[in-house]
Symmetry: C2
Subunit: 152 residues, 2 copies
DNA sequence: CTTGAAAAAAAATTAGA
DNA sequence: TCTAATTTTTTTTCAAG
C-alpha cells in the first residue's frame, strides 16, 4: 500500500468503470501496473466490492428517513436478533449500533409515507423489545456516498 | 422499465462486476440484451454510477460517527453554505437535511477520535451559524449499503 | 517497475427476424 | 423488440529488460 494505491482507490471509489488505461493517464503508471494493483486491492478486500448506485427517485422510492431506535433492555440475543432483522430488511439501507440516546440509527428508503408506516408496523410496533423510535424525514439528500477519506 | 430491468438492477446494485453473460444465466435473457438494457439504465441515470466500496478499517479509518447538527437561524444562504461545506468535506460520507430536532444528520468517517475532534473544530466550532451538534459514536456498522428496495 | 505481445474475455456494433 | 454474428475494446497473462 503506497501512495499510488491510494490514488487508484481515490479514483475508483468515485468511478469503478474507468479503464486501467484512463487511470494510467491520470496517475502516471502503466495500465498493466494499474491492473495488477487493482487485483491486489480486490484480493486483499481493501476494495470490498464494486456496485451500481441506483437513483431511488427513479425507482419510485421517494422517501428517505433517518430513524433512531431505542431498545428496552439491551441483552445480547435481543441485540443480535435486531441486527439480523435490519440486515434482512430491504427498506433499511444502513443500520448503525451507536452510543448516545438511541441504540440504533437507521437510514430507511421507501416509496412514500404510507410505505414507511407499513415498515414501522412490520419492524417496530409489535416488537416489545423496542421501547421507542424517533423519525427524521429527509428533505434533501445533500450528500450520499460510501466514500472514505483518502490522503497521504 | 419492466420486470427484467428490475432484476438486472437488483443484481448490479450488489455486484457491478458480474458479466452480462452471468446475468444472462441468472435471469434468462441473452447477454446482448442484458448489455443493451444496462446501457439504457446507465444513460437514463437510473444507474447513477458504479463505484468501488472500500474498507474504511483497512485504510486506517476506524471511527464512524452519526452527528445531528442544529443551525442557529435557518435562512437560505446559511443553509446552502452549510450544504456546500458538507459536500466538500472528505470526512463526511453522508449528509441529510431533515425535519425533526436537528437540521442535518451526518455520517462521518475518520481515522480516530482525535481526527474527529479536528473535524468538529474545523467545521463546527468557530461556525457561529451552528447552535449545537450531538455525536453518536458507531460501535457496529451493522449494515452499510446504498441499496434500493426493488420489487415488482 | 516498465514495455510489448498475445490470448482470453467482455462489450459494442451491425444485421436480420 | 429480440437473437445471432461480427468487430472493437478491455482485461489478463506472459516474457524480457
Amino acid at each position: 500500500m503506497d501512495e499510488l494505491d491510494l490514488k487508484i482507490l481515490a479514483l475508483v471509489q468515485d468511478d469503478a468503470r474507468q479503464t486501467a488505461e484512463r487511470i494510467s493517464d491520470l496517475i502516471g503508471l502503466s495500465p498493466t501496473a494499474i491492473q495488477k494493483r487493482l487485483k491486489k486491492l480486490r484480493d486483499s478486500k481493501i476494495i470490498q466490492k464494486e456496485i451500481a448506485v441506483l437513483d431511488p427517485g427513479k425507482l419510485g422510492q421517494t422517501m428517505t428517513a433517518v430513524v433512531e431506535v431505542s431498545l428496552e433492555r439491551e441483552n445480547l440475543s435481543v441485540l443480535d436478533a435486531f441486527k439480523k432483522r435490519m440486515r434482512n430488511a430491504p427498506q433499511v439501507q444502513q443500520c448503525y449500533y451507536t452510543t448516545g440516546e438511541a441504540d440504533f440509527i437507521l437510514v430507511v428508503v421507501v416509496k412514500d409515507i404510507k410505505a414507511y408506516e407499513t415498515f414501522t408496523h412490520e419492524y417496530f410496533f409489535g416488537t416489545p423489545e423496542i421501547s421507542k423510535f424517533k423519525t427524521s424525514i429527509v428533505m434533501d439528500r445533500v450528500k450520499v456516498s460510501l466514500n472514505v477519506d483518502i490522503q497521504k
